[in-house]
Amino acid sequence: MNATMNATMKQLSLALAVMCLLGLDAMSQGTLNGRVTDEKGNGLPNATVRVEGGKGAFTDLDGNYALTLSPATYKVTYSFIGFFDKSETVQIQNGQSTTLNVRLDEDAVMLNESVVIGYGVQRKKEVTGAISTIDSKEITAVRTPSFEAALQGQAAGVQVTQGSGMAGSGSIIRVRGLSSISAGGDPLYVIDGIPITQDYFLGGNQGAMNRNPLAALNPNDIADIQILKDAAATGIYGSRGANGVILITTKRGTRQGVQVSYSSSLGYGEPSARPSMMTTEEYLTIRQEAWENDGGTGYVWLPYLSTANDSPEARRLAYEEAMKTNTDWFDMMTRRAQKTQQNISFRSGGKWWSMYNGISYDKNESYAVGNAYTRTTLRTNLTLKPLESLQLDVQANTSQGVNQRVDGGWSGGIGASMSTALPYMAPYVLDTLYDDEGNIEEVVRDYELNRWGNPYVSLVNQNRLWRETETRNFLTGQLTYAPTTRIDVILSGGMDQSIVVEDNWRGEVLNQFDNNADTRLSWSERTSPNFNFGGNITYRIQDSDTYSMSLMVGGEGQKFASSGYWASIRNVEGPTYMVPEVRDSIDLYYQDSELTRPEWIEGINPWIDIPTTFASTFARFNYSLRDKYFLQATARVDGSSKFGRNYRFGFFPSVSLGWVVSDEEWFSSGAISFLKVRSSWGRTGNSNIGGDAQYERYADQTAGSTYAGDTIIYPLSPGNPNLRWETVQTVDASVEMGLFQDRVSVELGLYNKMASDVLMNSELPSHTGWGSRYINAGEVLNRGIELAITSNNLSASREFQWKTTGNYNYNYNELVSTGGYTPDAISGGTNDSRAVPGAPLTTYYLVPFSHVDAETGLPVYIDINGNETFDYNLEDRRAVGDGLPDHIAGLTNEMRYKNWSLSALLTASIGAKIWDSSAKRQLGVVTDWNMRTELFDRWRQPGDEAMFPRLTLDETTYGLPNGFPWWNTSLFMYDASYVRLRNLNLAYNIPMQSGDITLRVSGNNLFALTNFMGLDPELVRDFENAQDRNFSGGANYLTAPQERSVIFSINANF
């Protein structure tokens, strides 16, 4: 008993003693808490708070932290990736709570930032390639029809030409110039590790617009974008890296609690410029003058109202009739567009999982009446980490983009308002209908379609219903297994599926002259699945003090297919989205060709593109010595189904070196806090052509073509079994510097890209009997300088902060050789750009215009020998300019004062020329197009010094060949240099107890400084194919101008 009691007492005493000690300890401790924020006052989640001596903590979602410390004086260090570490000394009092809020300064150099590279991540310090990083704020700050337009001005060496103001329009992106001729010149887009479908021509060119394959992506889901530019960076993508690689990483969940972000915006848009089309009085004056200059007497004949052969009296009556109407057609076809966007996302997670969910709705009307792009997206990104060594990432996204289409450019709509819609034509006239007794029965609109192609009729009363709906599904996943710290094994796979359904319905009014149908519907569906799968394994060896190295090897496969069918339908009451039975019938009769089709289904036809596949093996070796010497070597073998067996495989190696000079002991500089030099060499490729180029093909004998009752079969294309990869050899040398304790970072790069075996779809001479054939013949050089600067001008510790980021790129582009083909062998579609050896790609090949002869008023040209001549001779054509800029730049200034912030993004493009192909008729021979008021500066009498020659209705007056009114002279080529205020953004941030609210107003494309005599010097017209897209980037043909928009938004984070 005693023994038991003693033992119990001992245990009790021990417990009491422990409790006392604990109590004493608690009583002798203090608390340190506070909040870690960035320079804007935003809490930094997961920032590290480290107390000298070992204790530490992480901040929560809002940047708050708390530590319990014994009374003493401590040195506490706060750190967060992308920011300078900051240390504070704090004294902890017994039993007291001490608050220490810390604001971290952004590190312009960010050596420890993780950079996404192909098939992995690296510390920025170790990166030996040229990579630009753009974060989500920069992408969502600018309201654009499609996310890629927001990259403009954000990265050195990346030229972004915004699409037109039409809803959903795409941009052209060129990374370090343009190397391709006939193969796609766009960079490779990779989302969460999977190359996506990015064919701009799956839908052809309808309504003067190409379908934008990137429009369905939600910018709010993007965490950041890395643009890989040199061979060291793109080499791991081998055959598809020649034009750069854009890696898009979507947002992920958080492992701490739930974060909710909500944003809502409302705004309006309008054309950034308005055309200077003539009024009726102006146009008739000009036309009359041309008529009289040509020797005509009396009143000039007027298109749609009279003819040249009409009697003078008939012409006079038509003239007087015309004077009664004055329609501003551009005004008729445009509006102030409404824009609205709702976006909500949830980031959540726990110890072994995290998830991001995003939902967005974005209705983006364009200023073109009837045109809107509505995007609805739903994304879930899930990360599971059931074991420390095992992680599964799954990204799922579905989106639907509905494009309410209208005609543009050559196809009508706004294009017609700048051309065939003459001001003396009314949108409609009122016709009074009477009954048998002479009473007014009805007053109806007559659009006078018997006279002319009135563009207004398509916009009203649902006369035309045209909708293109893309359903885009992404499903990607990665399984990462890291059994030790030295090994990562990654298996990945994904699917990107695009389903595009198009309804183009013309109602009875539009179809009134069709003898065979009251209404017509053109319908199509195209499904384009894209499958990827692969895996890689990385092995690392590290000696903590001396070296580290890693070797990654992997393989990848990809298959892309596209197929669908289209139908011609008549006499149905609407498109399939309004009359779904029509769709059912199309499906029925397509699936069973044995069924006898009803008459209203005129035809159903399939289309099947040849599937294309890739198979790749790649490896990357990285070696780091003393954390200041870096070596990287990559090698990739790609096989492509696009090439014949002889040349199916390509080998694409790269090697690069980096040296952090500032880490050398001998290095000492007061101003330079960081200095790194790097250089790379590598070979990358491009195979972005169709799958059938290699094949000698025959027409399908089973297709039913006959002559005189007999089946026919015939050769279609010559093919080229020796077709092979287009390759680019790139040499890059760069310097990265941090100045003034890294408050300023500078990155200066030089590059030389030489493309050889460039794929050319050369038109074969007529007498061969063939059309065209792909060959490897071209050589293209791009050489340039890149400069990127980030400067924290004013210290973050002040209330007023100012940060500047800028980038600049000079690029020299030259088509070195076309393998003996003449300039006319390779052209930009219907434009006048040609492949001229010695000149840049996108060169305009025109007859040089000298001046207007003051005595005669006739145009004076420069012949091939450099002499002035009145003779317009197409043999005198030569390279007169090109559409590629020599210099591009972006400059962003961000200023903050307390809770206010103001940012402005200026972009500039210098040296490109615009070939205004539509000006041939807006400012040239007087035809049946309306004209621009710039034409007022025309020659009228001897002695006049004028920009434009004497007016005429007869093309031969200007020396043009009879029947050839296309006046291809440099008179209509203009300097397209500009400086544009791309974005101006004013925001007020309201900190909340947990989270914040930001109110923002932003203006986009507010103004442009330019000498361009046209609508907007930045334009992307419609293209026929990839070659046209490469060659005609600076060509204008009734292209709608950019959109100027003002957006009000609210963002809330909780």
């Binding site: 090897v553 393989g555 027409a699 006959t706 026919i712 007529s766 061969t768 003996g820 062998a825 029947g963």
Partner: protein, 469 residues
């Protein structure tokens, strides 16, 4: 360590596995590749028929119009710039209409060359079949090369030795490019092809080429070469075969349909193309497009032609062919109605009337067999409904009378079919003072410009532009 290296190697080997499998062979089964397209005799026959198919497509009114616009039968096209340029004989490389036709003329040539090439690898083709196919192919190639050289080169006889530039002569399958051969070389190739055709073509071959067709084509070639003896002999052979007879229209409707029936092939047709309204297969649609007077026809005749047309017969009662014309003197227009009344018709490319008139004129030039020539001409006139002796040649007609009458009837009978301008050029080479719409018969622009694509490879010699105004 070894295990890890092995793992890396496994990954490498696995990924290389993708390369070696059929993963990269993606051509779908329904894609017809060259290796699979031509495997049997039926395949070759289908390839051969496709050559006729192209001929039917380009001779659907287009080739005929190009040749009419180079001559003096038509007025200036109403609005089509490409056609106006042909009329002005000022075509440039970028005339899409002319360039398109330039390319299409060589489609059959390519296909014929492919056919001949296929004889090397398609097994089981009997010698007889091969000879027949080779003969048909040769005929088609000759037809196209001759059609092309007449449009894109100055005529035979423009230079004494015909060393002036002709057209490229691709005679082997492939995508090789060729320089322009001389006109002499072009005609040599044409004659060589026709010799093969005459030797091996059958006398009956449905709507396809026959021995008569080859002879008749060669007769025309010889006629333009001023080889009147052979031209007449070949024409006589064809006429004497008895397989062709003159149509005998008896009313306006039948005259409108003269040699242009739809359900049957004209009894005059030696070689032609056919349409099939049953399946909406119209190989005469361009005649309608260009000449059809829905509002204002794009193409009308030279109004002066009306006076010429009526100089020996002033009304339909005297010349049934007056049914072809519709005169609009107030508008200064003369319409050709033959192609506008019907949507579908079969087109004769070589016919009996041609042979008779070629023979007649050749005999006139040879000053021999004038009685046969007179009979030929009178038969044509009588068929037209001309009964008055005043308008028929009598037995004492001179060679000059025969030649004049033969030319007049040739122009009348072939109106709109594009066969007149070559006769004017022939007469120019004979030394006659020929002007075509106030320009010499051999002015530069008479040879139309080649397609711009011909200049895609260095070294091609284009025709001079213009020079006819």
């Amino acid at each position: 360590m070894n295990l890890r290296i092995h793992t890396l190697l496994i990954v490498l080997i696995a990924s290389f596995g993708l390369h070696s499998c059929t993963w990269l062979d993606t051509a779908p089964e329904d894609l017809v590749l060259a290796d699979d397209a031509l495997e049997t005799e039926e395949d070759l026959q289908a390839l051969l028929v496709s050559c006729y198919d192209v001929l039917a497509n380009i001779y659907d009114g287009d080739v005929q119009l190009i040749n009419e616009l180079r001559g003096d039968n038509t007025a200036e096209p109403r609005s089509n710039g490409d056609l106006q340029a042909i009329y002005a004989r000022e075509t440039i490389r970028w005339n899409s209409y002319v360039g398109g036709m330039n390319r299409e003329f060589f489609y059959p040539v390519l296909r014929v060359n492919a056919l001949f090439d296929a004889f090397n690898f398609v097994p089981g083709i009997s010698e007889e079949t091969q000879n027949r196919m080779r003969a048909e192919g040769s005929f088609i190639r000759a037809f196209c090369l001759w059609g092309a050289v007449k449009i894109w080169a100055q005529p035979y006889g423009f230079t004494a030795d015909n060393s002036h530039p002709g057209i490229p002569l691709p005679t082997a399958f492939g995508d090789n490019t060729y320089p322009r051969a001389t006109v002499a070389e072009a005609y040599a190739q044409i004659e060589s092809d026709l010799a093969v055709a005459i030797e091996f073509l059958p006398e009956e071959n449905g709507v396809f080429a026959t021995k008569d067709a080859a002879k008749a084509l060669l007769a025309q070639v010889k006629f333009l070469q001023l080889d009147y003896a052979n031209a007449a002999a070949l024409a006589s052979d064809v006429i004497a075969s008895g397989r062709y007879t003159l149509e005998t229209p008896s009313n306006s409707e039948e005259f409108l349909r003269l040699r242009l029936p739809i359900d049957i092939v004209s009894t005059e047709t030696i070689f032609g193309t056919v349409s099939n309204p049953g399946i909406s297969d119209n190989r005469a649609d361009k005649f309608g497009d260009w000449w059809k007077p829905l509002t204002n026809p794009e193409i009308t005749l030279d109004p002066a032609l009306y006076q010429w047309y009526t100089q020996i017969a002033t009304g339909s009662a005297e010349d049934g062919r007056m049914a072809w014309l519709e005169n609009h003197p107030a508008e200064g227009q003369l319409w050709l109605k033959r192609f506008s009344e019907y949507d579908y018709f079969n087109i004769p490319l070589i016919h009996l009337t041609q042979m008779m008139l070629i023979r007649a004129e050749a005999y006139g030039e040879l000053e021999s067999n004038l009685s046969t020539a007179i009979d030929d001409i009178n038969a044509i006139r009588a068929r037209a409904g001309i009964v008055s002796d005043v308008y028929l040649l009598d037995a004492t007609a001179t060679a000059e009378d025969v030649i004049e009458a033969a030319r007049m009837e040739y122009r009348k009978e072939t109106l709109g079919m594009g066969l007149w301008v070559e006769q004017l050029q022939r007469r120019g080479t004979m030394g006659e003072d020929i002007t075509i719409r106030n320009a010499p018969w051999d002015c530069d622009g008479m040879a139309l410009q080649f397609s711009a694509s011909e200049g895609n490879v260095e070294g091609f010699t284009f025709n001079p532009v213009g020079g006819c105004n």
